[in-house]
Amino acid sequence: MRPANARMFRAGLVALLLALPFAATAAEAPKPPPQPWSYQGVFGVFDRPALQRGFLVYKQVCSACHSMSRLSYRNLLQLGFDEAAAAGFAAEVQIADGPNDEGEMYDRPGRLSDRFKKPFANEKAARASNNGAYPPDLSLMAKARPVGADYSFALLTGYINAPSNVQLMEGMHYNKYFPGFQIAMAPPLAENAVEFPDGTPASIENMARDVVQFLAWAAEPKMEERKRIGVKAMLFVLVLTALLYAVKRKVWAAVH
């Protein structure tokens, strides 16, 4: 091929690549700022005291409206609560069970094997109590939104007064990180809404950070196990690959 032709083809390629950055910039809400979560990275683990505090925030604030039905009370053992404490949390709620020998349903205190009790019997009941909005289940919330943990933290701390040019709909609140900005959930966290047994100040930011870490754990309770096994698996394959490379070199030595 003559050089002129080659130059034309290269110019075409460059033009094609230059066209790439014309991406739509119509992002609705600002990107949630990244937070320094302790569980990030290859060796990151959950902060157990933060998880326990986060569970308290969920129990005393969020659970009034939001279910977490993929968790069982037995899962709380993983947060570092002892069995008596976890069983105590379970026993605080009444679970419908039965039928008994008479064919009747009855209520009994919760057990470790029970799922977290839902605040509402069904979606209709939840909507009826929440101005028509349905508070979503939080079990997987940290994975069900893009950058879920950062987003949840931004949302919990993102309530501001509506700009003057915005007409809030009835019963809605303004949140700068919610898509569309108008959210049915009232600002859930208030200063000192929870009293932490370890004396951590219950600021809105602290509570938000802890409850979001709790949500991140709840979305994948096996995350630490996954990384632990992952490190071992990678090291094993790395050594194996080095050996295989040596074998390959030896086998091919006569050819090269």
Binding site: M1, N5, A6, F9, R10, G12, L13, L16, L17, A19, L20, F22, A23, A24, V42, R70, N75, S139, L140, K143, A144, R145, P146, G148, A219, E220, P221, K222, E225, R226, K227, I229, G230, V231, A233, M234, V237, L238, L240, T241, L244, Y245, V247, K248, V251, W252, A254, V255, H256
Partner: protein, 417 residues
């Protein structure tokens, strides 16, 4: 080629009655393979490895999965939380799909670069494309099984495509759905087919290998082997090379599986399927994005569907579109450049497919679609006539040995007695 003399008496006894050991010795051990294959030739065996991984992890996942609209999502979460190592099975399987496609796409583009589709390997190429089509169907149906939002809406969008077929389209869609919307019967038949099709893939892989072993591998120079000095026995040379490549590949595969397992996934699929709520953007998995971009580039539904299938279809007739007698792009100066333009074009199509179809995305998507087909239907036939290839080496050994010193033309085959 002669039957090997086996030392083990039982092996000899069996082999005399059913030549399975001779066959394996012939096809896996002494099988003559060009000596100059580079690491791009690893991706065939890597794809085969991924197929096995997918089938094995899939069988164990199926033991714990419930194909019912009320239980599918819950059963997947139970696998993640309560089944022993269930999270590992699921992440190996979900990321395995991506890495299966990565291996297959590199394998396919290697074939494009080195002209591996040309005479006498046209059937080998077409069987590979059949595998690709089966893989896409299998992957699509597998993505539906967790019954998340993207599962449901992806299934709705893709199955609806068939309604564009004149006269019978609506009936075909009803048949696919097992009803009048994507619902429990759809999930049931998709699960059944998702379990069935991988074994169909295994069958076509056997045919693919049969076709491969008829004329042997192509090679980076693209000229036929001219004798013993050009080839090596498959074992131990290429078994050793493939295993090393496998180690590298698995490092990447495990890296994603264990440290970024949701990288290839969509957050929306962690929301249980809800027929009453449509996600803002419905996107397929990354490996289907270029076809999705082509589909949406055409304003007409039937036209879009035809062009989308045509994107694969045109590859089936590629051996007759590219009439250049030279296989390897190394000796085709212009083809080498349009090849990389095609790679860029496919990446652009994938990027367009991931974005909503409006504004500049439509314009770029259409241009990229037109270029994709122009590459095969216009550029390649023209190049077959007008391109002047560089002089080919006399044999495979010639460029290998040039400056290589005294290695000599013959290599000890390292065969057992």
């Amino acid at each position: 080629m002669s039957a090997p003399e086996f030392r083990n008496g039982l092996v000899r006894w069996i082999d005399h009655r059913m030549g399975i050991f001779s066959f394996m010795h012939h096809e896996l051990h002494e099988y003559p393979t060009p000596k100059n294959l580079n690491y791009f030739w690893n991706f065939g065996s890597l794809a085969g490895f991924m197929l096995v991984v997918m089938i094995v992890t899939g069988i164990f996942l199926a033991m714990n999965y419930t194909p019912h609209v009320d239980h599918a999502f819950d059963s997947v979460e139970r696998i993640m939380r309560d089944v022993n190592y269930g999270w590992m099975l699921r992440f190996l399987h979900a990321n395995g799909a991506s890495f299966f496609f990565i291996a297959v796409y590199i394998h396919l583009f290697r074939g494009l670069y080195y002209g591996s589709y040309k005479e006498p390997r046209e059937l080998l190429w077409m069987l590979g494309l059949v595998i690709l089509v089966l893989m896409m169907a299998t992957a699509f149906m597998g993505y539906v099984l967790p019954w998340g939002q993207m599962s449901f809406w992806g299934a709705t969008v893709i199955t609806n495509l068939f309604s564009a077929i004149p006269w019978v389209g609506e009936s075909i869609v009803t048949l696919l759905w097992g009803g009048f919307s994507v619902d429990n019967p759809t999930l049931n038949r998709f699960f059944s087919l998702h379990y069935l099709l991988p074994f169909a893939i295994v069958g076509v892989v056997v045919l693919h290998l049969w076709a491969l072993h008829t004329h042997g591998s192509n090679n980076p120079v693209g000229i036929d082997t001219k004798g013993k000095q050009d080839s090596l026995p498959f074992h131990p040379y290429y078994t050793a090379k493939d295993l090393f490549g496998l180690g590298i590949f698995v490092l990447f595969y495990f890296g994603f599986t264990f440290f970024a397992p949701d990288f290839f996934g969509e957050p929306d699929n962690y929301i249980p399927a809800n027929p009453m709520v449509t996600p803002a953007h419905i996107v397929p998995e990354w490996y289907l994005l270029p076809y999705y971009a082509i589909l949406r580039s055409v304003p007409d539904k039937l036209g879009g569907v035809l062009l989308m299938f045509g994107a694969i279809g045109v590859l089936f007739i590629l051996p007759w579109l590219d009439r250049s007698p030279v296989r390897s792009a190394r000796f085709r100066p212009i083809y080498k450049q349009v090849y990389w333009l095609l790679v860029a074009d496919c990446l652009v199509l994938g990027w367009i497919g991931a974005n909503p179809p409006d504004g500049m995305f439509i314009v770029i998507g259409r241009a990229a679609t037109v270029y994709y087909f122009a590459h095969f239907l216009v550029l390649l036939p023209l190049l077959s006539v007008f391109e002047r290839p560089l002089p080919l080496p006399a044999s495979i050994s010639e460029p290998v040995l040039k400056g290589g010193g005294a290695a000599g033309g013959t290599v000890k085959p390292m065969e057992k007695a």
